[in-house]
Assembly symmetry: C2
Homo-oligomer: 313 residues x 2
Amino acid sequence: MTTADLRNQAASLAERVRAGNPRALARVISMIENADASIRSVMKDLTPVPARARVIGLTGAPGAGKSTVTGALIKAFRQAGVRVAVLAVDPSSPFSGGALLGDRVRMADHATDSGTYIRSMASRGQLGGLAAATPQAVRALEAAGFGVVLLETVGVGQAEVEVASAADSTVVLVVPGMGDDIQAAKAGVLEIADVLVVNKADRPDVQPTVRDLRNMVALSDADWKPPIVTTIGTTGEGIDELVRQLDRHWTWLGETGERDRRRMARASDEVTALALGAARERLAVPGELAARVAAGELAPHDAAAELLASAGL
Amino acid sequence: MTTADLRNQAASLAERVRAGNPRALARVISMIENADASIRSVMKDLTPVPARARVIGLTGAPGAGKSTVTGALIKAFRQAGVRVAVLAVDPSSPFSGGALLGDRVRMADHATDSGTYIRSMASRGQLGGLAAATPQAVRALEAAGFGVVLLETVGVGQAEVEVASAADSTVVLVVPGMGDDIQAAKAGVLEIADVLVVNKADRPDVQPTVRDLRNMVALSDADWKPPIVTTIGTTGEGIDELVRQLDRHWTWLGETGERDRRRMARASDEVTALALGAARERLAVPGELAARVAAGELAPHDAAAELLASAGL
């Protein structure tokens, strides 16, 4: 195909995404995931997006019930007439191939509803790839007209924090009686949670867990104190309250200007990551330079300076 | 202090590291951890290193007994007259502050032995920081004359793979009866293991676990098939065999040229990471550019291209 053909193909792909075609959307997200060479042109054709979506992050340890709570949130937003997309991101392993098992189950529930789109995404290539891919996927979903994007990730480690930073509001799920795990995750949870959810609230030890979280929140001197909501994802109990607290946070974000600040910071990080990715492509380390560093003769920082200079950077 | 004073200070720090002074070494590794501004000059003063160390990675899920096996390996190498450093790297969380609890315990065992140095290192700042910091810390330990560096990490996720890539040989520890966990980690384990260790071999279900691993190894078409060693870290049982298999792998690395290939690749990655870090410092996204991306008006790739052009890159 000629360059013009490729451009036309990208344009019609973008058009189909705008029309809400799920297969076109799936294709674009795969291109983003694989850092396909023509993604830049597709992203250009998807710009400007009609409106930014409200992005809600959902994270928690394996077994915290993220899938059922996500399912219940989909239902709640759909009942309010909002088109909802779910992006399930697995940053924990480059080996998973991106299949979160919950997907197919939940997909079946919503398969006939064109107002719902569910997709999982994994890290291909180097670490940091997801931090660049996630906001691009969100943008494609915005172009397709989704009003809410639920961003589901596992855990509260460094990678999850990066993914969570793509969200306007982040929900952290814990289950009752996690005890030590909560202790260990405390600092991390406080760092990223806008709303705390104690899921599986039909289990014992709900109150001690809630109390533990409340004490933790009380120590924070942040302007927004994360509310604590108890839910039972499987029955939908507490989901209305979760939606209410998310709405409250959304209003707070708007009134304080924090929403714009977060989105500016997010855009800035995204642009930096893409610029560095482009810079990386121009930086091929010559074998002779690598050999001198490998032999311990040349300091790596000096080799880096040589490399940048030789690339004209 | 003048620039000349700072240079002199860095030089004398490097001198003390070369003399094997543990406090100077600790200070340099902290500087590496915190990406201190003067680390480049210190690394320059530490170059050339007298000899590259043999770097052995040790990884496994929490509870696999990494600390006891590391302790037993220290003992074995010390008995052979080799100076051993342990770098315990925690890539799982930016919040841990770098304290692996096992440290103080093991430190007490070897505190009076100047041929042993144990240090933990955590990720400060952005992801990928550890991938850059680890080889620098190894280099400082080489300058201090350590012949073997044991690189201990938790888990087998993406971050651990990056850390493991700094090792010449990687040992993956599992415990008997992990069943599903092994299933889940299989691909990852095979990807990075040079030697597989079934630790806590006094527990039931050792044989099924060994068989499971053997079947897995048999499917691999790699030139080096990871041997499977059973150990009891607490008593030291099986450690001699582990050392023997590590020696066998070390010989194989040398004979096939794989050692040089790995070290070249490692040096190349290290230089690229440092060059990108330096490039990042020159890339400040202007507010107006971030605002247009945040509003969805400008495609992020186009903003990145504008940024690179304006930085003269």
